[in-house]
Structures are given as structure tokens and as C-alpha cells.
């Protein structure tokens, strides 16, 4: 079971007549320049992994931190799982249920912060 936005009955795709009007917020461009805080190794890895999941995503130009994962990047919970699998592979770590406790993943910045956190946790493990 995934999140609750997967409407079938009555759902409208963008551009269809009757589709919900966009909110006032401008859609962040996927090719926006990265903000400084997304230039870490983890952020680069994340961008690479997302590019594997979303072929039209340009890892050289990740979106702004305020870009929404679902509304702007079309990342649903199934694609989120694909991203997790990619991160596990590339960062050599395993993401557990406990790692997601209390986490909200709404924006690209949320995801970068999450990846930083699990990466730091994985790095700290050998010294524990």
C-alpha cells in the first residue's frame, strides 16, 4: 500500500481538462543550479541515483531544495523505494525501518538531509 494520492476514480492528469489548477507556488525548474548545501558527496550520489530512476532527471543540475518530490519530481513511494535501493548500493549501507522514524520527505531538501543522516550513521558504525 502506498500513499494516498494515487487517485483512480476522477483523477486528472496535468494538462487534462478539469485537472486541478496549480497552486500559486511556481514549479521549481529541474535544471536549477544546486544550492551550496546540496553539493556534498551524498547529494551527488543522490542525484545520480535519481537519474537512474527518472531518466529525464539531469544529475548535473539537481533541483532546488524546495522542489517537491511528488508534485515536482513525480517521485511516488514506489520510486522512493527504487531510490533507497540505489542509495544502499552506491553508499554501501542498508536503510532500516528505524531510519525512517520521524522523517518527513516532502521536498528535495528533505531527501538530501535524510541521505546525509543515513550516510553519517553508516560512517559512524565501525567506530561504535
Amino acid at each position: 500500500m502506498e500513499h494516498d494520492t494515487r487517485k483512480f476514480r476522477g483523477a486528472k492528469r496535468r494538462g487534462q481538462p478539469g485537472a486541478p489548477a496549480r497552486a500559486a507556488k511556481q514549479r521549481p525548474a529541474i535544471t536549477d543550479q544546486p544550492s551550496p548545501e546540496t553539493e556534498s558527496r551524498e547529494a551527488t550520489t543522490l542525484a545520480t541515483v535519481i537519474a537512474e530512476v527518472l531518466p529525464r532527471f539531469d544529475p548535473q543540475h539537481p533541483p532546488q531544495d524546495t522542489a517537491e518530490l511528488y508534485a515536482d519530481l513525480l517521485i511516488d513511494s514506489r520510486r522512493f523505494l527504487m531510490i533507497i535501493r540505489g542509495l544502499e548500493r552506491m553508499l554501501g549501507l542498508e536503510v532500516d525501518d528505524e531510519d525512517l522514524l520521524g522523517v518527513d520527505l516532502i521536498t528535495y531538501g528533505d531527501l538530501v538531509t535524510f541521505v546525509d543522516r543515513i550516510s553519517a550513521k553508516a560512517s559512524a558504525k565501525p567506530n561504535e
Binding site: 500500500m1 502506498e2 500513499h3 494516498d4 494520492t5 494515487r6 487517485k7 483512480f8 476514480r9 476522477g10 483523477a11 486528472k12 492528469r13 496535468r14 485537472a19 486541478p20 496549480r22 497552486a23 507556488k25 530512476v53 517537491e68 518530490l69 511528488y70 508534485a71 513525480l74 517521485i75 511516488d76 513511494s77 514506489r78 520510486r79 522512493f80 523505494l81 527504487m82 533507497i84 535501493r85 540505489g86 536503510v95 532500516d96 525501518d97 528505524e98 531510519d99 525512517l100 522514524l101 520521524g102 522523517v103 518527513d104 520527505l105 516532502i106
Partner: protein, 468 residues
């Protein structure tokens, strides 16, 4: 050669892994994940799966043939597993067949059915993921009682929406849920928008699993800080947890020096069917044998034999993922048969893909035939089967009686639960007072037409390769 002449020892039949059938059938997995371009523009959505990551991974893992059962779950399984597998010799003699009939019985636990196998696993994973409360919909009540017990064991709260007709037919189920500290509501209820909408169409509160599920999802969304919706069948991880049945049965049949030509189970959304069947498909391939899986479904809800392979929603509220499945359409309301667990409009996306490619067969049976078979089984084998399980027994008897079945065939039936809360059904059957279970043809046509119509409006999205 033993072949069931001597009672098998259950010692040694214990298993420590679930059979990951997605590893065996990656193509059907991939096909079952095809979804639709149903993105609606929505801001502020948390993409965190509502299920624990571990369950999501299990539902999408094609890389490992077996998945270890966690220690705490194995400890609780040990309270009632291995379950018995016996040759039904008295039944064979009574019907005068040369076929060898075996049954696996999943009713000897506190919930009275196989549902506890996944309830314990899910409660374990949800508790580990920090969830405090599980909310669910249940048909005949086996799943609801199983989840209530599992939640109790793992320190979670539990809320159950139970299909109205079953809620009234089986008040003992309510008592058990409450005994384990759970909260239970008759569905459709007035507690949710989905329930209130359904009540308008169904004022006599017959209900359906699609509605009960919709109510549970709606409430879980409202309480998303602490609560999650838990599902009792259909999803791959649920089917996976049920393979403990088949893994045991493979070992038990081997101990009896026998192997089934047919494995028969009733088909609701598919968990007990897959649970007993998928390990036998693997075992047959490994041993160079043939085995045919047979799904038994009610005439009242013939999704496999009369439904269509279409994209459809899983619940009345329309919030769950759209998957391609064999379905009668989510607006179909099956007649109020006693086998409430088989009234669901659709079935597992994975099993639907397998069925579409001829991976197993299905047959539909009437309620009278099923309950007569159940009564005969009770008389000859000393176990009163759940009405759902009676459909599997009836199908097994049909196969045994089929002149095309080669003499001496071996048939394994999964008796998924006991029928001790269904004595009213057997009483009605004994008196010849069972109500007509003929489906409403116009409703089937309308429901399917509506679903075909919606399918014409949607397009397939790229199948995600989650299993990489």
C-alpha cells in the same frame, strides 16, 4: 512407501524462511507492477511509504529465493506451527475415490485461520517502524481477529472495520477482537466519509471488503502521525508471509513420500492460495514434477472465471494504488454468502498476471455444494472447515470425481480456517435453507462496464524496476 498411511510427525516440518516467489517469477512481478499515469497534482505530499520499508522491500524483492523469518515472529509461529498435514482417508473411502486426498489445516490458532501468519509478521514490522496503531478492514473477521491478537503481542493498538453482514453473522469475532483490546466497527459505518457514502447505496449494511478497507484507510490517513493501514491479503508481502504454509507442506509431503498433482485453495484476494501453492510450484520445478494449482472461488463472486483483467482500485474510497487484476469491478457487491472472505471484487496483481498466462486454473462453486463438502469433511475428518475453506474442499472433491483425472491422483487441499463461528451456515445448509447465492448479473455487467470505461481513460506508466 508411506503415502500417508502412517500419521506424519510434524517434527522437522518447521521452516525458518518464507518462499520468495517473486524470485521465481520476476516477469510476473514486473508485469504486476505496471501502474497507470494517475498522478494528480498535489502539493505537500510525503513520499514516505505508508508501509514499513521492510515490507515494501519484501513486496518488491526478486533477488533472493528465500527471506528469513525474523526471530520474534518465528517464536510466535512456534505456538501453533507446524500445522498438521494429513491424508483424508475416511473422506477418500466415503466418496470412493482412487485419488489420494490430503489436507493442510491452518485453523488451529487463536485467530482460527491462516491470517495469523501475516498478522504477526506485519505487527512485528510496524512496531519496529515506530507505528503505534494499526487500522484495517476485515471480511469474515479472521483477518481482523488475527491482527488484533498480533497487535496485542507487539504492543500496538488495533481498530477493525468488519463487513456488516459478517459482523452480524459472526458476533464472536467482535468479542475476540475486543478481548485482545481492539476496537471494532460494523462497516459501512458513519465514522468515515467512505462509510457514509456506502451507506447511501447499501442502507441494509451488507457491506463489502472494498468499503471496509476504504474506511480503514480513511481513518489511518486522519491519524497518520501514529497509525497505519494494514492489509490482510493481496499484496506481495502478505502472500510471502503465507508461504510458511507451503514450505511446511512441501516438507510434510516429502516425509510422506508423496507429491501433489493438484494443490487446491480458495481464492479471496489470494494469500492462502499463494501461500500453499507457490512453494509447490518451486518444488515441482526443482524435482522435475508437474503440479497444478487450482483456485476455488464462489459463484457469488467469480472474479477469476467471469471477471476481466483490468486496472482497478482495491478499495471503495479509491485511494489505494491502481493495479491490473482479475476483477468484477470495485463497485460489485457480492451476495451475502457465508464465505465472507471470498466476497472481494478483485485479486492479487501478481496472481492475476500468473493466471493470465495460464499459471493456474480456477473454478467457481455454489454455496450449497461448498457447505455440503464442508459438512462431509467435518463428518469424516473431524474438523469443521470455515465456509471459505469448504470451497477448496468442494473443488478438491470435484477434481477427485472428474473422470479426466488420472486414477490415483494426489490432491492437496488447504483448509485455511475452522468454521466454529459459522455453525449458522452449516445449520442453514443442513435444513436446505441457504439463501440464493446467484450473483446479480446486471450488477456484474454494470460494474465491469464501469471498470472498462475507466480503463479506456488511463494509460500505462513505465513499469518501475524496483527490484534492482
Amino acid at each position: 512407501m508411506n503415502r500417508g498411511d502412517e500419521p506424519p510427525a510434524e517434527d522437522g516440518a518447521g521452516v525458518s524462511t518464507w518462499c520468495n516467489f517473486l524470485f521465481d517469477f520476476p516477469d510476473h512481478y514486473a508485469r504486476s507492477t505496471i501502474s497507470t499515469n494517475h498522478f494528480a497534482y498535489t502539493q505537500g505530499v510525503n513520499v514516505l511509504p505508508q508501509q514499513p520499508l521492510s515490507l515494501m522491500k519484501q513486496s518488491n524483492d526478486t533477488t533472493r529465493p528465500d527471506i528469513a523469518i525474523p526471530g520474534p515472529v518465528r517464536d510466535l509461529y512456534a505456538n501453533y506451527r507446524p500445522t498438521i498435514l494429513r491424508r483424508a482417508k475416511t473422506l477418500e473411502q466415503r466418496i470412493g475415490t482412487s485419488a489420494r486426498l490430503y489436507y493442510k489445516f491452518e485453523g488451529a490458532n487463536v485467530s482460527g485461520s491462516h491470517k495469523l501468519n501475516t498478522a504477526l509478521a506485519q505487527a512485528y514490522y510496524y512496531q519496529k517502524a515506530g507505528v503505534k496503531r494499526l487500522i484495517t478492514g476485515t471480511g469474515a473477521g479472521q483477518w481482523g481477529t488475527a491482527l488484533a491478537y498480533a497487535c496485542r503481542r507487539f504492543g500496538l493498538e488495533c481498530i477493525v472495520f468488519m463487513v456488516g453482514i459478517s459482523y452480524r453473522q459472526k458476533p464472536q469475532r467482535r468479542t475476540i477482537v475486543e478481548l485482545f483490546g481492539g476496537e471494532i466497527h460494523e462497516s459501512p459505518s458513519t465514522l468515515t466519509r467512505a462509510g457514509r457514502e456506502a451507506l447511501n447505496k447499501d442502507p441494509s449494511r451488507i457491506g463489502s471488503l472494498a468499503v471496509a478497507t476504504g474506511e480503514a484507510i480513511e481513518l489511518a490517513r486522519q491519524q497518520s502521525d501514529t497509525a497505519r493501514f494494514a492489509v490482510g491479503s493481496g499484496e506481495n508481502c502478505v502472500l510471502l508471509h503465507q508461504t510458511v504454509i507451503g514450505n511446511e507442506a512441501v516438507k510434510q509431503m516429502a516425509a510422506l513420500d508423496d507429491f501433489p498433482d493438484y494443490v487446491v485453495a480458495c481464492m479471496g484476494a489470494g494469500s492462502n492460495f499463494a501461500g500453499v501453492g507457490m512453494p509447490f510450484l518451486r518444488a515441482a520445478r526443482e524435482r522435475g514434477r508437474d503440479v497444478q494449482l487450482v483456485a476455488a472461488e464462489p459463484l457469488a463472486c467469480p472474479k477469476m472465471t467471469r471477471g476481466a483483467y483490468l486496472f482497478d482500485i482495491n478499495d471503495f474510497s479509491g485511494t489505494t494504488p491502481v493495479t491490473r487484476m482479475y476483477t468484477l469491478g470495485s463497485s460489485y457487491l457480492a451476495p451475502p454468502i457465508h464465505a465472507g472472505g471470498l466476497r472481494y471484487h478483485g485479486t492479487s496483481a501478481f496472481l492475476s498476471s500468473l493466471y493470465a498466462s495460464g499459471g493456474f486454473t480456477a473454478r467457481s462453486l455454489g454455496q450449497v455444494e461448498a457447505l455440503q463438502a464442508g459438512a462431509l469433511f467435518a463428518e469424516t475428518e473431524g474438523i469443521i472447515p470455515a465456509p471459505e475453506s469448504a470451497y477448496a474442499i468442494a473443488a478438491g472433491l470435484q477434481i477427485a470425481a472428474d473422470s479426466k483425472t488420472k486414477s490415483g491422483s494426489c490432491i492437496l487441499m488447504n483448509v485455511s480456517g475452522h468454521g466454529l463461528f459459522d455453525l449458522a451456515a452449516y445449520e442453514q445448509a443442513r435444513r436446505g435453507e441457504l439463501p440464493d447465492d446467484t450473483p446479480d448479473e446486471r450488477m456484474i455487467e454494470a460494474s465491469l462496464a464501469s471498470t472498462f470505461g475507466r480503463n479506456a481513460e488511463i494509460t500505462e506508466a513505465d513499469p518501475p524496476n524496483v527490484s534492482a
